[in-house]
């Protein structure tokens, strides 16, 4: 079982490299900050990209927009979602 802090760090790094965020370090993303918020300038294509990145890096599929919206609410929410899916599969 992944350490929750490690997982969150990994997710922040994935967000930055995968979505090519410029001039943002992992420390600059708060755990409870909404991911799809004005400041980061992400759109629906970025959401689709994030779905692919999660599948590729964690082997977890996000089946629909409903699940996606909840999971992508924040780093905390995403980490919880992944942890829950991993323990289901374990």
């Amino acid at each position: 079982m992944t350490d929750p802090q490690d997982l969150k760090q990994r997710l922040k790094e994935l967000l930055i490299t995968g979505l090519r965020l410029q001039e943002v370090a992992p420390a600059g993303i708060a755990d409870d900050q909404p991911i799809f918020v004005e400041g980061l300038g992400l759109d629906s294509i970025d959401a689709l990209e994030l779905v692919v990145l999660i599948e590729e890096h964690f082997g977890i599929a996000i089946p629909d927009e409903e699940v996606g919206k909840k999971a992508f609410a924040s780093i905390n929410a995403l980490a919880e979602f992944i942890a829950a899916e991993q323990s289901r599969g374990a």
Binding site: D43, S44, I45, L48, V52
Partner: protein, 408 residues
């Protein structure tokens, strides 16, 4: 438009697409409301969410007779479509060597060129079954390749240009042809577009969740995405005076084109359709027409929730009250979204509608979206006397083009 610019007419037509290997076959299929969307066979579609497209039939996807086998091997699929359609259009125009070769121009649109073949050679390289890239598959990949092939095959020595503006490519090619004739750069222009299915575009639209799982339903309340298509359409255009002097048969008038950029987002249209409206207004102004003069619009109408809503908004903004009188249909339910060839294939459908007096239907439309408040010509074609028509094409990059055509 400068007042002394010549009137331009269309004197030759050619096409190959999912419904047809010739223009006469295309007319019949449009009238019959046939849907050309079926299972993908050009490549293995395992693993894609949607597995359908409007493919050119195998018999129509072979290089025309008379092409040397050495050249045949180097042709991409989109080259073959272009050759077939151009052969038909030139035969139809009956130039018969009467026009000097350096006075015949070539303006072609497309987006993926020889990508299908390029993908295959890349896979062979990755999987280690081939050491080198066959040069033809990479150097022949850009959209300029089909123009090179056509210029060589038909000895076209005038100005030459390939335009690539995503889904409005061949509409812009028609515009370039129009401007060349008005500037006297060519007496005749071979113009249109060609596109073949390939994994890249299929995978891309699939990844964007933009593909409809069932055949697309433009303007339908339940529409859920586009269906890709492929093919080519070629028009031969010249000034009315030049056509009259050589006794050419005229199919239709090519009056004007208008182009704009949304300057908004690379894939999503401006939410109020202002760019699309601007393109229509520019085209109408250059044609010297008012919105009320238009009887029919061949819409971009891809069947995505967003495009059809925004396009309807743009049409309403431009046409106002006259919109209620308009017939608006999308032929993408019939031939799919042919990307770089769409502008030309749909201009061709519009020309046939004007010439033969019928409205091509919006195939697969069963429950019209009430926010698109026009006569959407659902499912069945109808006779209609049309004087002027508009054909819309909107592409990635926010590129919008409208072409005005008229009955001859």
């Amino acid at each position: 438009m400068a007042p002394s610019a010549p009137q331009v007419v269309v004197t030759g037509l050619g096409t190959v697409n999912a419904l047809a290997g010739s223009v006469s076959e295309f007319v019949a299929a449009l009238r019959a409301g046939t849907c050309g969307i079926g299972p993908v066979t050009v490549f293995d579609s395992t693993g894609y969410r949607s597995r359908i497209a409007a493919e050119v039939r195998p018999a129509d996807a072979d290089a025309p007779a008379g092409v040397a086998s050495a050249l045949r091997r180097r042709l991409s699929r989109s080259d073959v479509f272009a050759l077939r359609a151009t052969a038909e259009a030139l035969a139809d125009a009956g130039l018969a060597g009467a026009v000097p070769r350096e006075r015949i121009g070539l303006a072609i649109g497309g987006t993926t060129g020889g990508m299908l073949r390029g993908e295959e050679s890349l896979r062979e390289r990755i999987q280690g079954t081939r050491d080198q890239y066959p040069s033809a598959s990479v150097l022949g990949a850009p959209i300029s390749a089909s123009a090179d092939v056509l210029a060589d095959a038909f000895d076209l020595a005038g100005p030459r240009l390939s335009l690539s503006t995503a889904c409005s490519s061949s509409a812009n090619a028609l515009g370039a042809a129009l401007d060349w004739i008005s500037l006297g750069r060519a007496d005749v222009v071979v113009t249109g577009g060609t596109e073949s299915l390939c994994r890249m575009t299929f995978a891309g639209f699939n990844a964007l969740h933009a593909l409809s799982l069932a055949p697309c339903r433009p303007f339908d309340r339940e529409r859920s995405g586009l269906s890709l298509g492929e093919g080519a359409a070629i028009l031969v255009v010249e000034s009315a005076e030049h056509a009259a002097r050589r006794g050419a048969r005229v199919h239709a008038e090519l009056l004007s084109y208008g182009n704009s950029a949304d300057a908004h987002h690379l894939t999503a249209p401006h939410p109020e359709g202002t760019g699309a409206a601007l393109a229509m207004r520019r085209a109408l102004a250059r044609a010297g027409l008012a919105p009320e003069d238009i009887d029919y619009i061949n819409a971009h109408g891809t069947g995505t929730p967003l495009n059809d809503t925004v396009e309807a908004m743009a049409i309403t903004a431009v046409f106002g009250e006259a919109a209620a009188r308009l017939a608006v249909s999308s032929t993408k339910g019939a031939v799919g979204h042919t990307l770089g060839a769409a502008g030309a294939i749909e201009a061709l459908a519009t020309i046939l509608a004007l010439r033969d007096g019928f409205l091509p239907p919006t195939v697969n439309l069963t429950d019209p979206d009430p926010t698109c408040a026009f006569d959407l010509v659902p499912r069945d074609s109808r006779s209609a006397t049309l004087r002027y028509a508009l054909s819309n094409s909107y592409g990635f990059g926010g590129n919008n083009t409208s072409v005005v055509l008229g009955r001859a």
